[in-house]
């Protein structure tokens, strides 16, 4: 029998970055399939464009910075960034906007800060915000779910819509958005926001056709099911120990608390917590975006504060801000606060009492 001597650590982590990123991508897959079921082929095309651009940009910048290209590309982080962006943008966005956004995500938000592990902000969310403030009209042009369209868009139609701006029969996106009964469809968050500006109450806006077919009365038809799929994917990530419970739980809880408080203040103006949780991108944000190990807080206490503050900003911006959804803005605001949060939530070092730590600082 051979006994080997080796120095510590004796227990090694089984996963490398690439495996973790791949697990996150697998966890997103069901929701992406569901999104394609409801909204057509657009997501597939956007994801392909985004992944190609992301990997290309990453390779080019790594080569420019004289870093090993192959190893960094095989960690799948660029692919994940591209996918997160692809599921956030409208499926019929012109192709060059997707390319521009992905380029900004990888080039500006990631590589200029020093590459994976050094980026202060979540690259996908920076790309989303850059696109949203640059092209506000195109970025809010969501096609209605397929069930509302006169006839579902074929793959060739979607491709031609993305590449040229027109379907093969010459319809542009504005015409497509006006569905059979002549109402322009919007996302649930949009619907409530515009409804309130037209001095309808929250409960009245819930009568719009967009809210038919969700699993509860205040939920958007397709969106709530996609959100459920993200919830399932997120629970899988928790089970697989890719993410900790702190961020998702704190973020969702804080959204429920703050939106519930507003809802109790005035039920006609402020949407219910259920509406806030299952509409828009809260659930993908809580499980997939805010949990980004690089740009999130690194201590457990810090994660609770970080995520709770994201939830707070989310409710504030959604309710009082100019844009209907706010996950990207809230995450970026709190990304900026991460160094401060980490500084004040450092865990106690073993053998040191917190008091002696303070004395040393004096």
């Amino acid at each position: 029998m051979k006994l080997t001597l080796s120095s510590s650590p004796h227990q090694r982590v089984r996963r490398d970055t690439g495996q973790i990123m791949r697990l996150v991508i697998y966890a997103m897959a069901p929701a992406m399939v569901l999104q394609m079921f409801f909204f057509g082929w657009g997501l597939l095309i956007q994801a392909s464009i985004a992944i190609l651009t992301a990997v290309g940009t990453e390779a080019a910048f790594l080569a420019l910075r004289q870093k090993p290209v192959g190893r960094a590309l095989s960690d799948y982080s660029a692919v994940l960034t591209a996918l997160l962006l692809a599921v956030s943008i409208p499926p019929a966005l012109p192709w060059w906007m997707t390319v521009l956004g992905t380029f900004c995500a990888i080039a500006i938000a990631k590589q200029l800060y020093g590459g994976l592990g050094f980026n202060m902000f979540n690259p996908a969310m920076i790309a989303y915000v850059i696109l949203l403030i640059s092209f506000p009209v195109a970025m809010t042009m969501w096609l209605p779910p397929q069930q509302f369209l006169a006839e579902p868009l074929s793959f060739a139609d979607t491709l031609s819509l993305i590449l040229t701006g027109y379907t093969q029969s010459g319809m542009d996106i504005v015409q497509l958005r006006t569905v059979v009964d002549g109402i322009t469809m919007a996302t649930p968050l949009d619907a409530v926001k515009t409804g309130l500006t037209q001095s309808r109450t929250y409960t009245e806006t819930l009568q719009a056709p967009i809210f038919e077919g969700g699993f509860a009365s205040s939920l958007g038809a397709a969106w709530s099911w996609i959100a459920l799929a993200y919830l399932a994917g997120g629970l899988f990530l928790l089970k697989a120990r890719v993410i900790n419970w702190h961020i998702p739980v704190a973020m969702i809880a804080s959204v429920i608390v703050f939106s519930g408080f507003l809802h109790l203040l005035d039920m006609d103006r402020y949407a219910s917590p259920l509406f806030h949780v299952f509409n828009g991108s809260l659930l993908i944000g809580a499980f997939f975006i805010a949990t980004d190990p690089v740009s999130a807080s690194t201590t457990n206490k810090g994660r609770l504060i970080f995520a709770a503050a994201i939830g707070f900003w989310l409710v504030i911006i959604r309710t009082f801000g100019g844009y209907p959804d706010a996950v990207a803005f809230a995450v970026i605001i709190m990304n900026m606060a991460v160094p401060l949060i980490d500084y004040y939530t450092r865990p106690r070092t073993y053998g040191h009492s917190p008091r002696s730590e303070k004395r040393k600082h004096r």
Binding site: P94, M97, I133, S134, F135, P136, V137, A138
Partner: protein, 230 residues
């Protein structure tokens, strides 16, 4: 003559008010949405800078040290008022486009910085030349940044040139590409910050290249034999 050469190099490159001293960033970031706006503000700043540098240099021996800063500020403020009235009279549309940032030239730290650091200690001619070069350095950065943002944002260059140069310039606008969706990020303030960062990075990169080349050249210096030949 070499004094003027160092002054020129300082203003345009080594001690550029915008890229190195990072002074006057507020107007720099706020008005550079187009080339012409950048050029207009740059020229206005340059004129104020020359005027204030000359005046401060002229009165440098009369003004007592304790009250020099208020005097400098008043000198600068009067020149800014002159420029503002001139622009109001001759380039009214540009005056409207630049808005509050013309009177705000008073608070541009580059100007009082030069008055304090250079003009109050030097003769009139060098002080005037310093004003020209510092102003030129500032203007070049404004125009570069304005060009980057206008090109990315709207796909044009020199749009609105008639605001500054009169009706001669009516058709100077160069349309590089036409777009239905302007890239608003470049025109909005974040674009100014990102563009400014890229410009500073480019300047530092060039400096590093130059420094690296110089050390290489120094290494090739032929050794002088110091030991006696046996």
């Amino acid at each position: 003559m070499s004094e003027y050469k160092t002054l020129a190099a300082d203003g345009m490159w080594k001690n550029n008010p915008a890229l190195v001293q990072l002074l006057g960033l507020c107007p720099l970031l706020a008005v550079t949405a187009t080339v012409i706006n950048g050029l207009g503000l740059g020229l206005a700043t340059m004129a104020v800078l020359i005027g204030s540098n000359v005046t401060v240099s002229l009165v440098r021996n009369i003004v007592r040290n304790e009250i020099r800063i208020p005097i400098f500020v008043m000198v600068i403020a009067s020149f800014v008022t002159i420029i503002q009235l001139l622009m109001n009279a001759f380039t009214y549309e540009l005056y409207l486009a630049l808005g509050i940032f013309i009177p705000l030239i008073v608070t541009n730290c580059a100007i009082i910085g030069r008055a304090e650091a250079f003009a109050s200690k030097n003769k009139v001619l060098p002080a005037a030349f310093d004003g020209v070069m510092m102003g030129l350095g500032f203007t070049v950065v404004l125009v570069l940044l304005g060009g980057m943002r206008e090109l990315l944002g709207a796909g044009t260059l020199l749009s609105g040139a008639d605001r500054l140069f009169g009706p001669v310039a009516n058709n100077w606008t160069v349309t590089v590409f036409a777009t239905e969706h302007p890239f608003l990020l470049a025109i909005l303030p974040p674009g100014a910050f990102i563009g400014m960062g890229l410009l500073i990075a480019a300047k530092n990169a060039i400096d590093q290249r130059l420094a690296a080349r110089q050390t290489k050249q120094k290494k090739q210096v032929t050794r002088i034999r110091v030991t006696a030949e046996s």
